[in-house]
Amino acid sequence: MRRNLAALFFIFTLFAVVGLYQPRFLAPSSLNSILLWMPIITVLALGQLLVVVSGGIDISIGSILGCSGIVVGLIVKEHPTLPVPVALGLGLLVGLVLGMVNAAIITWGKISPLIVTIGTLASFRGLCFLLSKGQQIDGSMIPDSLTSLARNGLTLGEITLSWLLILSLVGAGGFALAMFYYVGAKSLVAFGSNPSAAHLRGISGNAVTFWVYALCGAMAGLGGVMYAAKFGFVNPSSAGQGLELTVIAAVAIGGAKLTGGFGNVTGTLLGCFLLSSINVALSVMGVDANWQMLAYGAVILVAVLVDGLARREK
């Protein structure tokens, strides 16, 4: 709770400071671009949140996003009339399958998730090229029905809540409910905070681990379709590249304990909003893009250090 307040405080400070410097940052169009940035980071962050709470990490999500975007792109290219829910479902499925590959190796190979996902980060990116034969999915191949998800939605005055955003928020709501009520999610938290104790209480570590990575993959797969909808094209090399860093930063800022055992959906959403805002703020202020990497790194490091210091006090 205190962490959520801290994140809120960060957000307000950011808006106040940047707004003073460049008042146009507070204009509706600026808020719109922040809100259009959020959906992709949000779905990825929700998946990553599960993984982090279980005490692991998945850095292959950017490559999974790329694969899903390519596969769905190739399919809608042949079948432009494919209903949008089917496209979203397909993306989810591609992600789920790739996530299960991660999950299987991590669970039954008993290998460190970091090493496995470093390996699949490279392999899945290679898969993007294999699937697409090195060809980009061009804008003219993606049907309007899909790209309109980023364009249309609920409008409140000049603010547009795109269908993509609504979809990601609904997803977040679902996650939050599950975290509260679903016994599986509770066992996840128990598992992340103390695997051996959880085992004694009869929680099967293998099943938890497996489904956590599979779900994380599925969310990244959903992100792939959203990517295609938002950008209107999917390039096998750039789609999703480097997003893992942004997403881990969002989860960290959102107060999830990066060493496992704790995390909440509201905090993660705030983290996503804050990172999207930072991204837009840097560009509106005309800050050299060369500083963005530094900003993300600082965010992760601060979150990690706070985590470490808090634990030390205990």
Partner: protein, 305 residues
């Protein structure tokens, strides 16, 4: 214990035989020696990474520290510093950055992958913020290390082999080496038996920073220019090589000989695929799969024991 190094060794031999059958252009000593200069920098990182992994940690920030030091060194030259001063300063900076990683990890009991994930972004970001999109040229006197030979061997290869011998002795023949292994196999037990665990961690990460700085200077000399976007993803290659060489990611086990074999194995695979016109993206996939299979194989080996 020594058997661990045998797997990458045998694989290396096998890969050389295969590669020479794959392409008639592969088996050419001068070409292979020249190519080794492309991998020597990553090799230095992998040597230190082996120790880091044996100590039960991981260092994702080495590539970024390497690039930051490479850019700083170029800036120092621009300011008019001489070669010895720049080398000295660079090594100091690299070692300090590495030690700082180690200090925070040890004192705050943070998981090393998180800590170094943060410093990875920060160091690369700092290099980018400092250099912007432009490059800085290095003085002529400093460049061309990879083209000068001693006894027919290029300098970077000699430096790598020398470092491998020294770090090998450090790991396998000294008390410090036993401490590193001890910390990695059972930190609590090591602490109770009087091993200065925190200091070991700081030193191991310090060594990682030192090697990164060395690699940075070699890279500067090879390219003749410094830029913030050089050597992207090199830390992942170094981890791959260390793990391929038999360093157990759980800590406690690994050999420098294995890492050395694995580096050459990595080089042979990449080079053989390159001369056989295999597309780079397939090379990417192959290396990723190889990493996972290597760890799986290690797992199976241990369970079979």
């Amino acid at each position: 214990m020594k058997f661990r190094a045998l797997i990458p060794g045998v694989l290396l031999l096998l890969s050389i035989i295969l590669a020479s059958r794959l392409s008639p252009h592969f088996l050419d000593a001068r070409y292979l020696l020249d190519t080794s200069t492309l991998y020597a920098e990553m090799g230095l990182l992998a040597l230190a990474m082996t120790l880091v992994i044996i100590s039960g940690n991981i260092d994702l920030s080495v590539g970024s520290i390497m690039v930051l030091v490479a850019c700083l060194a170029a800036k120092f030259f621009e300011k008019g510093l001489g070669i010895p001063a720049v080398i000295f300063l660079s090594l100091i900076i690299g070692t300090s950055l590495g030690s700082l990683n180690g200090y925070l990890i040890a004192k705050l009991k943070l998981p090393s992958f998180l800590m170094t994930l943060g410093t990875m972004a920060i160091a690369r970001g700092a290099a980018q913020a400092m250099m912007g999109p432009s490059s800085v040229k290095l003085p002529k006197a400093f460049t061309g290390l990879d083209q000068s030979l001693v006894l027919g061997l290029p300098w970077p290869l000699i430096i790598f082999l020398l470092c491998a011998v020294l770090i090998g002795i450090l790991l396998h023949r000294t008390v410090f080496g036993r401490w590193v292994t001890g910390v990695g196999s059972n930190e609590k037990a090591a602490l109770f038996s009087g091993v200065p665990v925190d200091r070991v961690k700081i030193l191991v990460f310090g060594l990682s920073g030192l090697m990164a700085a060395g690699a940075a200077l070699m890279m500067d000399s090879r390219y003749g220019v410094a830029r913030h976007n050089f050597a992207l993803g090199i830390e992942l290659e170094a981890i791959t090589v260390a793990v391929l060489g038999g360093a157990a990611i759980k800590g406690g086990e690994g050999t420098i000989l294995g890492t050395t074999f694995a580096l050459f194995l990595f080089m042979v695979i990449k080079t053989a695929m390159g001369v056989a016109n295999v597309k780079p993206e397939y090379q990417l996939t192959a290396i990723g799969v190889l990493l996972i299979l290597a760890v799986l194989a290690e797992r199976l080996r241990r369970e079979g024991r």
